[in-house]
Symmetry: D2
Subunit: 174 residues, 4 copies
């Protein structure tokens, strides 16, 4: 079971569409997966209770548990202000350290409406995940100008599809 | 007027103590400043409304306005998982781009209970602030094992005090 | 006097062409500048003598002196393996620390034949220059696919020209 | 066979001592390894011929071949100006891309005489190695103030020894 984290809680995000596409491509290879959608975070999860695990809500504990149970994870990461979304980092700040991610395997995907495709975002996230003990797949496909290259949940750009499929092949044997 | 951002909403943080010390040291040099405490963020600020500025609460708009009015800013940044707190990044994600930070001057201070003092956190934040158009002072003092070097709101380690004062001297003429 | 560092010693580089264009654009604004071309480095500068300043050749000392005398510097940086060229970093490793760069002002320009334009390279270089005490201009224009957007020493892409001119305007008042 | 890269060509470096210690600890676990010492680089390797593989000397080709043949690699990295040595990056710039490192496994070790232990250096190097297709072990031990914690080729600080041994255990099964 691979856990795909849709890395923003922005409504109607392309990020969630890419996460869904990732799940389809995994399914075509017979690999089961689940999506963890950050839109399911409690509205006030990033309040001061974030630092008191004894005060966590059932909803938040349930999301945490899904991370705890996954051995392989995919992070679909939109670029916000040249890094990952603050909300994604706040979610990681609320995970159990170091049990949540240690010795697990992760794959990162970067998206942007601009021209970077989130490469600095993925660099920052790699620093964080390495610190948490997660091994990160070297291949990190990036999809700049993503809004111009997706339609009805599929990539219209063949290179984008190829890059995603190459990452999946690597992830399955990582 | 310098705006000092206390970079976490964790209750009883050493971060806020360092922000307060920073304000005192500025006052000793005749420089007025204000603290923006991330504990004043609305509890649900990092919910999906973060991406719809027309839905912002009066409280959030008021914090945003304080940033908009500042020409120089100090970021006191605790290290969470080898980077800045997600909550600090989420706050930046909710600022007006690029007006909020463009062509302004910023100074960064790193803290940690561990041995890094947040140097990777400050590197990540520099990427974000540069992208937002803010010039960042080269001197970025870092205070590892901060809990062992502070008492009653003052640094007990003379080197820490010296590093902070050197940054302040540079910031005043930046 | 602004010193423009052409950040590679690769012969016939586009980097040197961009450095030359930078100089022309500065001259149009009445600003004098000089180019420091890394092709002028002694062939063996990165040998073990790099760590013994008493063994430096006259050629190397002369390049070092030019850096020492500059108050503002521009780094034109091609992307090699997702970072700056090793040769550029080896040159910085041979400068006098911290006198060479401390309290000076720097502007960075990124180039690549690929699609990144060196944004991670510029992030890395910013870390290094900040450590050396140099203030780095927030605006860091990047020029991906540079070989397709230059002809006879001029940018053929109007956006590239605009970005470079905007940086120059900022640098002159930094 | 694991290849241990001693990441500087500085004579009498502690880096080479740590590389040698690494080799001993691997041998105690029955794991064969070799050291690639950057002091063996031709004195002029970072001259303009670096970008013309048809002009490479036999010495340089021989070092390149050793990298090509290794499936697992260790990088012992001293911190120079808040990053890896320029000479290490120049060596990587001269490797065959992407064959040299692609789909290989790497482990990083950071050293410094100062207090950072090279954590930003290792972050930068991770960006480079990931770009080159090498998977990097999450555990990256760092050894600040290394000159105070080594004697006669052994760590005198038990924590340093433990961190290195923990990395080795992880590397052997990576």
């Amino acid at each position: 079971m691979i856990l795909i984290i849709s890395g923003t809680n922005r409504p109607n995000s392309i990020t969630l569409k890419v996460a869904t596409l990732y799940q389809e491509l995994l399914a075509q290879r017979g690999q089961a997966s689940e999506i963890l959608d950050l839109q399911d975070l409690p509205l006030d999860f990033a309040s001061p209770t974030l630092y008191k695990s004894e005060l966590y809500s059932q909803e938040f504990l349930s999301l945490r548990r899904r991370v705890a149970q996954a051995a392989k994870m995919v992070f679909v990461v939109p670029e916000y202000n040249c890094s990952y979304p603050g909300v994604l980092k706040a979610f990681i700040d609320g995970l159990e350290y170091p049990e949540a991610l240690r010795r697990k395997k992760g794959a990162l995907v970067g998206l942007s409406t601009g021209g970077q495709g989130g490469n600095i975002a993925l660099s920052h996230l790699t620093d964080v995940l390495h610190y948490c003990g997660m091994h990160v797949l070297a291949q990190k496909p990036r999809f700049p100008h993503i809004h111009k290259h997706m339609q009805e949940g599929q990539f219209t750009n063949p290179l984008y599809k190829q890059l995603l499929e190459e990452q999946i092949e690597e992830l399955l044997v990582f």
